[in-house]
């Protein structure tokens, strides 16, 4: 089942897909995502992406299972956003093999709504056929924005615009949802709400999610797996086997956090270092 969900980014094969019926665990499990779905939602082998001869991504391998929530961490400039753009099909100057689902959606750091279209038209933009406004409104309802469907993007607050952008991604019923630091520009309070919303939507939709972030706590709150990227490859792959909903006060949470910070090269034991 899994293989015909995919197509190559470089050479489109254009196979028709069916909806993936399986769902991830209800959220209380160990967090490895799917129960039944063997196979992969993303398969990357030997991916290289160079800018002016400098390889930002250097023979990178990555597998993501269907329905799995993966967080991708890394220092600024390590190539994590580039990897996301490659998976989204926005960057095709690559070598190596990249297999991704046909149905994929991106939510960027800034909402990137077309300012000349009201919110509901933004949500429907690019959908095949002429879907009804009700389709958009349903998706907007899901992110708690049903009442703003007719508004111009300029009248939305930052959090609202980000939710509209999320609705636009979800209305495509993606098998792979790519999130590029979607909470980066939000204030701390809005961010917490938005993180909860994403967790809820993921559990309801059951799509694979790749979240690019530089916030270790965010990764640990949301993801089944926290990857750390370094020198153009996935340097560390940490399963996050914590029960949901997660509590940052949990000692296991704290232990994972300090491990991740170590992997990111952040000196998080200043006292120990000094001794």
């Amino acid at each position: 089942m899994a293989t015909d969900l995919h197509r190559q980014v470089i050479r489109p094969a254009g196979q028709k897909t069916d909806r993936k019926p399986d769902r991830p665990g209800t959220g209380t499990g160990t967090g490895t995502g799917t129960g039944t779905g063997a196979g992969t939602a993303v398969r990357v082998e030997g991916l290289t992406r160079a800018f002016d001869g400098r390889a930002v991504i250097d023979r990178l391998d990555l597998d993501i299972r269907p329905g799995e929530f993966t967080a991708l961490l890394g220092r600024s400039g390590c190539g994590k956003s580039t990897l996301l753009r490659v998976l989204a099909g926005l960057d095709r100057e690559v070598e190596g093999s990249v297999l991704v689902p046909r149905r994929r959606a991106v939510a960027f750091q800034s909402p990137r709504l077309m300012p000349w279209k009201p919110v509901w038209r933004n949500v429907l933009l690019g959908l095949p056929g002429h879907p009804d406004r009700a389709v958009a409104e349903q998706a907007l309802e899901e992110v708690g924005l049903g009442h703003r469907s007719g508004a111009w993007p300029k009248t939305l607050s930052g959090g609202e615009a980000q939710r509209a952008s999320l609705a636009r991604a979800l209305v495509r019923e993606p098998d792979l949802l790519l999130l590029d630091e979607p909470f980066g520009a939000l204030d701390a309070l809005t961010r917490i709400t938005a993180q909860r919303l994403v967790a809820e939507l993921w559990q309801r939709r059951g799509c694979a999610v790749l979240l690019v972030t530089h916030d270790v706590d965010e990764a640990l709150l949301l993801a089944d797996r926290a990857l750390v990227m370094e020198n153009g490859v996935i340097a560390h792959d940490n399963p996050v086997a914590l029960p949901r909903p997660r509590d940052p006060g949990d000692p296991r949470f704290a232990e994972l956090r300090s491990r991740l910070l170590d992997q990111l090269g952040v000196d998080n034991h200043p006292a120990a270092q000094a001794a």
């Binding site: 926005l90 959606a105 800034s110 990137r112 000349w116 933009l125 690019g126 300029k154």
Partner: protein
Amino acid sequence: MTISKPPPDISVIPDQGDVLELEPIISAASRRRHVPRWLRRTAGPLLLLALWQVLSSTGVLEPDILASPGTIARAGKELIADGTLPSAMLVSLQRVALGLVFGVLAGTALALVSGLSRLGEDLVDASVQMLRTVPWVGLIPLFIIWLGIGEAPKIALISLGVAFHLYLNVYAGIRGVDEQLIEAGTSLGLSRWGLVRHVVLPGALPGAMTGLRYSLATAWLALVFSEQINADDGIGFVMNQAREFFRTDVIVVCLVVYAFLGLTADIVVRTLERLLLQWRPTFTGK
């Protein structure tokens, strides 16, 4: 650590004297003057008109130099009554309308070709930029040789002026579209044509509207130029005749008509802008 200072004794503050002076923040709605906007906008021109009439009546401004507003109004009434002005206006309007249609079509088409594709840019943009440096009024003699002295050279001149302005602005508008939005459109699965329709063209619209306003101004300018030469009807012709007889009042009537037509065109574009660009998060003035 202990607190060394006692709390301030507020009972000894005098009722008057050193008390802070507070001022209210007045809401923007109440600060706005209650004179309607249209009245404020017409007040300036009306004042200017009154000043002109006063100068003419007191003899400071002689009628040979410039007729008084009263005389001009009378001349205007006469010209309208004997049908000279309406028929001249119709002819001139027709010229501008035809010139605009051809110019807008040509300018937009060229801008789309060079704005949307790299190949088009290489082929079209360099040539247009080169031709643009030729002052288009200088082309009048050539146009007369090519197209004779009928309607064709006049319309061609108007089209040329319009096309250049529109080309520049639409092209700049297309190239000014936010790359991030193009990328978002791509990620949503829009085809190339979908991108053009839903992202590039709406994004270029503000530029196109600016171009249209410039084009209209140019169109009237081109009309005046072309009607001064070899015209046997139209507003320019009426004006030329008036010059022969030193009728400054008729000349001014014609100028007023030009201005009026220009203003009408501007209102049309403003209305279009208001309808088409209401999504724009721009500063609208306080």
